[in-house]
Symmetry: C2
Subunit: 292 residues, 2 copies
């Protein structure tokens, strides 16, 4: 096997076609350079340069080998660069989990920033409900998730990246749509309410339950996704509570109403595994907006 120094030596000689000048370029003297090239030829088993006391010429094999040698040296250069950039999180892969709803307002700007500031990072998107994201984060299948509590804060760390008010969604012709003022829990008394899966959408489930605690609504449907909720509302199956950004989904036949004071804001968290060693993750965390 030959060495990279021998490759550099050969490339220099092949480009200069002169051992003396090549040696100068390599900051060495001519004799060891001659020996390096000889060694390389012995290692490859082929004469790469034809030389007499007057001139140096590449053989055909030398010509072919030269292009390969250049390629090797270039690759060696870039390999180091790549490793350094990956180490600093400027290159690599970020496996990002997100919920359908988080995508409405957060995902687009985030991806735009990524491609601007970390263009060599591949972001691999996984649309999953929060529990599936948590699972992925714990298994190491995801680097970062955009989801909602709860999760095990021992193992996972998080930061709020978006905060928005809760609002109500009702059919377009519904009496609540015509009140013209923020709705209170009492307004939902006796209403058919579409709520959320206690396991797969626990955050909205609990939000809904807490908000309507004293209103004793009738809850029959429990679904996982915000969009499904709104489609059921549009189909006249009831009313529901959703995050304000759901307006942007553009579903026809429904009206979004503000809700009054007691509504806690809806929070979207960036969630990651404290044990993650992905440098991209740490780089990304430094550029994530911190919403107090």
């Amino acid at each position: 096997m030959f060495s990279l120094d021998q490759l550099s030596a050969f490339v220099a000689v092949a480009e200069e076609l002169h051992f003396g000048r090549a040696a100068e370029r390599l900051n060495m003297t001519q004799p060891p350079l001659s020996r390096q090239v000889q060694k390389l030829e012995r290692a490859v088993g082929v004469q790469l340069l034809e030389r007499d006391n007057r001139r140096v010429v590449l053989t055909e094999a030398g010509r072919a080998f030269l292009t390969e040698a250049r390629r090797v040296l270039a690759l060696v250069e870039t390999a180091g660069d790549l490793a350094r950039r990956v180490d600093q999180g400027a290159a690599g892969t970020l496996r990002l989990g997100f919920t359908a709803t988080s995508a409405i307002r957060t995902l687009g700007p985030f991806l735009r920033r990524m491609s601007e500031e970390l263009p060599d990072v591949d972001v691999i998107l996984h649309e999953r409900v929060t529990p599936a994201q948590i699972d992925g984060l714990l298994r190491g299948e995801l680097d970062l998730g955009l989801g909602r509590p709860p999760f095990d804060a021992q193992v996972l760390d998080s930061r709020v990246v978006f905060r928005e008010p809760l609002c109500a969604v009702v059919p377009g012709n519904h009496r609540l749509a015509l009140l013209g003022r923020p709705l209170t829990p009492a307004d939902f008394a006796g209403e058919q309410v579409i709520s959320y899966s206690p396991t797969q959408a626990r955050y909205f489930h609990e939000l809904t339950v807490r908000f309507l605690a004293d209103a004793h609504p009738r809850i029959e449907q429990r679904v996982q996704q915000i969009l499904t909720v709104i489609l059921l509302v549009a189909a006249g199956r009831g009313v529901a509570l959703v995050p304000a950004s759901a307006r942007s989904l553009g579903v026809e036949g429904v009206t979004f109403c503000e809700v009054g004071v007691p509504g806690e804001p809806v929070e979207l968290h960036a969630i990651w595994n404290r044990a993650s060693t992905n440098p991209v993750l740490h780089r990304v965390l430094t550029m994530l907006p911190e919403h107090q």
Copy 2:
């Protein structure tokens, strides 16, 4: 700058995730292997492996660097192979000159053999009349030509690769077409004969002149290419002498007639520069049919 040995060391450790086993695989002991990997990390400026006394794990940067390292090592392997194959003429480029006529019977089989026996050789085809081929061979623009004498046998070497009889071509309704026996020079007495350029198709020019020396034909047209000759015959502008393989050109309205004894055979030569250093050429010469 790091060394290829360091790359191999790193790859072995990264694959085994165990310094001891990796060292065994590399036929060395564990301590110098540890040092090699440390040196590599220092050279790259990045931690590639995370190791405690219990286990070895790749960092993200290490994972990225591993694929690059494998690529470098693979390239190093193939570079040597390539040079050796080029040296033995099994890979590389053959710039081949040929005349339109030589292509009829010789070029196809030759190219077929090349792609069977030397599949890694690129054959670059140059259709040129013989003098242009000679010129290319002398300038080093061509490695091998398929042409006809004369040429400077001091500088160029050659070998006959195809030998065929001369034959006459006459218009389909011509009196010579109806004789039903081999033609002799005397048959051409008084005929309008289409002959060849004394400079650009000197071989056929001289062949024609020698064959018809005593017949005193009338020669007015002198062209370069066999095909042109035959098209002129088809157009009724005269009769001509061509190599037998010209039948395969499939020109309508002409008849090919055998010619009698005095006809020397038409010889096609493979011609090359004695000074050529292209290993492919020498490899090809060993597989060229030698026609006595």
